[in-house]
Amino acid sequence: MTGALRSHLLMGATGLVLGVTVSAAGFSDWGEVHRMFSLGLLDGGPSRDSLRMLLGFGGAVLLAMAGFRLLARHDQIPVKPIRSGTISGALLFGAGWAITGACPAAALVQLGEGKAAALATLIGILAGAWLHEQARRRFHWPRHSCVD
């Protein structure tokens, strides 16, 4: 029971921190996300302000690289190899992210922010995941090993 409680507490804390960060950083704001992806080219060229989130994400990746290298170098974390669906899947995901202004986490954060229309995004994401599972079974695509 303590294990289950610990799991709930740590997962809940991570969800809260991630939700607050996504919202406070602007990743749940359609206009901000659009400005990030258009690199400021649609409103007067790239600037420190329009590249703010891109720099934030890039900085986060670099920090995570340093963290994993320093603290988890020998850990056995499941690997993520390039697969047959990697490029086509990423193309779909990127285009969808730009249209909805939401990655999966941001869609939930938007709901919390009282953006009722995000329910359409969330239903779409769940439907997309379900459709992929049907296609995977039908066409015998390999299953990705890990949940994330």
Binding site: S7, H8, M11, T14, G15, L18, V20, V22, S23, A25, E32, H34, F37, S38, L41, L51, R52, L55, G56, F57, G59, A60, L62, L63, A64, A72, H74, D75, Q76, I77, P78, K80, I82, R83, S88, G89, A90, L91, F93, G94, A95, G96, W97, A98, I99, T100, P104, G112, K115, A117, T121, G124, I125, A127, G128, E133, H144, C146, V147, D148
Partner: protein
Amino acid sequence: MSGYLPWWGTALALGTLPVCYWIALRRPLGVSGVLARFTRVREELEFDRGVAAVNNFDQSALEAEMLALTREAFGDRGGLLAVDAPSTPGDARPAAGVMEPARTVATAGRACAPVPPLASHLTFLAMLVLGGAVVALLRGSWGAGFGAAFTAQFAAGPAGLAALAGGGVMVGFGAAMCGGCSAGHGLTGAGRLMPGSLVSTGVFFAAAVATALLLGWRAW
């Protein structure tokens, strides 16, 4: 400026989170796969029961049972099973019958924990929603909608909802197909220099930039 975190604040929060999550929970942080579990709740609950059964199982009882079955099948050859006798004197393998436990074979670093129960993943998703609510309430922007930039692009009403639902399908299908989202690939995977994640992250950012520029075509 629109009252959002500076770039370094975003980097600090999003960069430390996947590392802390791994160390505390021994799981790679991700969102799309967690969300996808809720499209097949019955199977996932069954999976949870399987994980719980394995976790609660007595390892030594399992080993004794396997040994007994092996003896039954191949006969008792000496006191212990002589299945792994060294072929040459210099062979570094353990002596006959001495089985090295699996956990000492894979020694380096922390091991990955099994997938947590669906209930704690539900907590995770619920707290993501709460996080958004907290910030929106503090900022006084709760329920303000998608904003002028969105309505200028898609117009409010059914057209906008259709765009969100259609784009959502692309996000859900795409993330399942490439095996991660901006968290699982972008932060955790790219942070660990995983080839699939580095390629995915590069490709989905490029696709998003191209799409955003195409959407803004009218404004050019």
